[in-house]
Symmetry: C2
Subunit: 324 residues, 2 copies
């Protein structure tokens, strides 16, 4: 498997991406190519004493730039160069601007036939396993038909990556009853019931972390707010615990608590899970978090490998064949 690694966008810098690519090569037997500024990459490779293919790209698209505009204008950015060469590779892993990756993915890699939009599926932590939240931020304004597409995309992804035969699909809503919700979710409920998926009904906000379903469908506006609320609230609760509980403890008790607390913090950090696939594109494009380290980069490559070997793209193509 040939994977393109974007060397830009990582908080820890270019070298950490390169180390991640090396780990991927050694442990996963994939063939890595780096995309980024060769004048920066080459000296690091020399220093490490490794050689690796490089696609030279001198520009960087930042998170602050308007994505579609940046894609058109920065022809020599790592993201544009990657998409221009993606036909020769099986996957692209980048910590760059999500918006630019989506724009590049839609305009340059292209959507799978009959798939109307690319989506961001983010795994939400639960007490046992995860629920895939779709869409977690790519599509702000959607209609009921799109929500049904999100459900189908998520279904195939869960089948391929976790081997779940009939993933349970829920609709994020304000009540469990069929007639609850806004105009969008009321219409979507009826269409999801008719769709060829395992739709189990509405899921309320209080049940998101209870793993009642494998795929949880919502528009990207609500999905983004939920994800960030989860992150913010986890931080808020940890702050409360530190100021109101831990600070009051005896030294011994404090030590005991701190030792067990870090796995809990890790469970709550949905970013730990690794990369998020831009789902619905003709190519495997994975957005890794800017705060990733070399292991997280390798984990993103591992996800890509799993999807590649299990023919995710082909299976989505099949699932959407004949779709209007």
């Amino acid at each position: 498997m040939k994977i393109l690694f974007d060397t830009t966008g990582l908080d820890l810098g270019v070298k950490e991406v390169i180390e991640g690519a090396i780990l991927s090569k050694e442990e996963l037997n994939i063939e890595p190519t780096l995309v980024g500024d060769e004048d920066i990459i080459r000296p690091i490779l020399n220093e490490i004493g490794m050689d690796m293919n490089i696609l030279d790209a001198k520009e960087i698209i930042t998170n602050e730039e308007e994505p579609a505009f940046a894609i058109r204008r920065k022809k020599d950015s790592s993201i544009v160069v990657a998409f221009n060469n993606l036909n020769e590779y099986d996957a692209f892993i980048s910590c760059g601007s999500t918006g630019a990756l989506l724009a590049g993915g839609m305009f340059m890699a292209g959507r799978i036939n009959n798939v109307k939009r690319a989506v961001l599926p983010t795994p939400i932590p639960t007490i046992n396993g995860n629920t895939l939240l779709i869409d977690s931020g790519a599509n702000m304004d959607v209609d009921a038909d799109l929500l049904v597409q999100f459900a189908k995309l998520g279904t195939v992804l869960k089948q391929v990556t976790e081997g779940i035969e009939k993933p349970k699909v829920g609709l994020l809503n304000v009540g469990v009853e069929e007639n609850k919700g806004n105009a969008l979710t009321k219409e979507a409920f009826l269409k999801l019931k008719e769709a060829d998926i395992n739709f189990i009904g509405n899921i309320e906000g209080r049940d998101i972390n209870k793993h009642l379903c494998d795929v949880l469908v919502c528009d990207g506006f609500v999905g983004n707010i939920i994800l960030k609320n989860t992150e913010g609230l986890a931080g808020f609760i940890m702050t409360l615990l530190k100021s109101k509980v831990i600070s009051n403890l005896s030294d011994n008790a404090k030590l005991e608590v701190m030792q067990s607390l870090s796995p809990v913090v890790k469970t709550l950090d949905y970013r730990e899970v690794g990369g998020v696939l831009l789902l619905g594109l003709k190519k495997l494009v994975i957005k890794a978090h800017g705060a990733s380290d070399r292991n997280a980069i390798k984990n993103a490559a591992k996800s890509a490998l799993l999807m590649h070997e299990n023919k995710l793209i082909d299976k989505i193509e099949n699932s959407f064949r004949g779709e209007i």
Copy 2:
């Protein structure tokens, strides 16, 4: 001040409401009247050895009933009887169906002139004080003009109840930049900037608990999901803490942690705050939580007293005078 107390809808039963009304009378000097089934209320009053005015109402509207339908059909329910008599009282406190209270409020008590919808403002806990989330579930489908009205209603409520001169208003959104969001929030941003309020811009999901603003505006669908997500996630984190941290501790450390943990749990429970006002109506109608005890009922009465003495309804009328 004359307050009507609905004796139905409380998990702890009729007697607990009556005790709450008695506390309100004794501590707040308000004049309580009970609305509910006199055949049930009278024996309890006799047992306690108290007398109190009663509006007899034999029926109960449950949470499962379609609100508008129930309001039309159950003429002898405590909620309908209360609204039919509300002109003679200053406020109505009920633990009954939120939907039925909203329907009754809109159709029977009526909206303040130029206020298009009644809203549910729920205080979200933060590390210091609270942010009022408006709307937290009354209005599923809204437009930008309605969001501006929510901002104005929340502004007056914060001024009256907390004495904040120029409450900061934020718009819940997916990014801080002006051009971020869905069609609704993009349009609302522009209108909020022009409105006669202290608009500070977009607030992201991760910052909801940081008290960056006093009033946080969103549609009732998103607001409901956020509130319930907050509740669910707090429960999930507590479960994680119990299974992964507390259960590993020595007995001494466990005891220490458990002693300090309960105020944290209380802080996270937005329901603890007491009742939620149905904001925008011509009368003070407060929905108290079904899990309330007598003290929570008294706290709801205390809120009502504060709003009454500070002429909340008059001030909203003034604020909306001349509004189109």
